[in-house]
Subunit: 166 residues, 3 copies
């Protein structure tokens, strides 16, 4: 399943609730890296909101590896979020097509349900700088590939889901 | 009811038409402040488009107070829009959590139907400056709280509504 | 038909597939102008992806004229995209209301099906500069006018359509 949404759209909470509908152990794969106090605060708040069924794997770059590891630990996996992961890869200078293919293969091969959260970032004015444009392009392509793979895709706005694929 | 939409999406016109389906007197609560000629022109154009059933209350900051006042004057209330109100509060240095709670209480307690218009601003690239990021966060949280309260929520694009909650 | 979508949303591919469901000859009206290598590359890639049934008309400015010409050459017309055309007009200093009315008349009079692609650009933070704000306003107004004219309107995200009008 793929949960798309804007900033502060409630997409993470929605995805978490969907994941918690699966009985058993749950694995949260966090792609966030805390570079400043804004992010540190946000990560701590989100972690505090999850319950005892959850364990956490941090995977700012090797997301496919983390999915393999998580598949042995839990009955469902939540990846939050693909767009931060993309951003980490771009800053690290990784080849994007290879990374995208690796992620798609990892999700396709995963024996337990995977719910991925991603930002929809393409509904604004064309950004001024080339890196932001490239990021927007990569995010759009990744969302398209993931949406093609997933059985269910929703777009969340104001905490409420619109069904894109079911 | 909550009417979400992008810039120039037709959200205000859609909300106004929905409000005009209610018989009787209608109150328009305007949160806009005219700081420049762009805004002055826009406010005047919108006011000119409304008919004789409408009265107007200007409420750039005390929106909960305006809702109480409007409830005594009309059979339905249109708030246009929550996002400008948020922007006014941020510039005035108001405590946002208190203001948001006050608005939610005011809408919940209102004896006549309230239709609120708000911008969806989270579907673009992360803004460069911290104030814009904070504004985007606050707008998202307010939209989530209002959507949870309202019986009907739509997302308007190109003048057409997508139902998020009904 | 109007196909709205964000950047890299798969809107052009979706519109092309819809157009290819029409038997016979197809005309692609390209509004893009290649100012830099980013755009040249993108145009060439898109052209290479279209098959033998397609012919192409380039129309960076005179879109109504191109629709008239295309109507004599094909059984269906794809315009990709209205938002680049708007951008070209703004840079050329064209009167926007006249151009918009001319386009609407051209589409309304066209004897074969027209599928138009347009960007939804209004779901982000208010842009810093006045030209970007004006562009966003014009894009929103054009999308509203086209949506009112068209029989079918969809919003594409991650390659998947949400029906706005059917």
């Amino acid at each position: 399943m793929l949960v798309l949404g804007g900033a502060r759209s409630g997409k993470s909470r929605y995805a978490q609730e969907r994941c918690e509908a699966v009985p058993g152990r749950l694995v949260y794969i966090a792609t966030a890296q805390a570079f400043d106090s804004e992010m540190t605060e946000r990560i701590a708040r989100h972690r505090g909101e999850r319950g005892a069924r959850w364990s956490t794997i941090e995977a700012p770059l090797d997301l496919a590896g983390a999915i393999g590891e998580a598949a042995g630990q839990g009955d469902a996996i939540l990846i939050d979020c693909l767009t931060l992961w993309l951003s980490n890869l771009l800053l690290a200078g990784t080849d994007m097509a290879t990374a995208r293919a690796g992620l798609i293969d990892g999700v396709a091969a995963c024996p337990v349900p995977v719910i991925s959260v991603a930002n929809e970032v393409g509904f604004g004015i064309v950004p001024d700088n080339a890196l932001a444009r490239r990021f927007r392009d990569e995010a759009g392509w990744l969302n398209q590939d993931m949406a093609a793979l997933c059985r269910e895709v929703v777009l969340v706005a104001a905490g409420l889901p619109l069904t894109l694929k079911a």
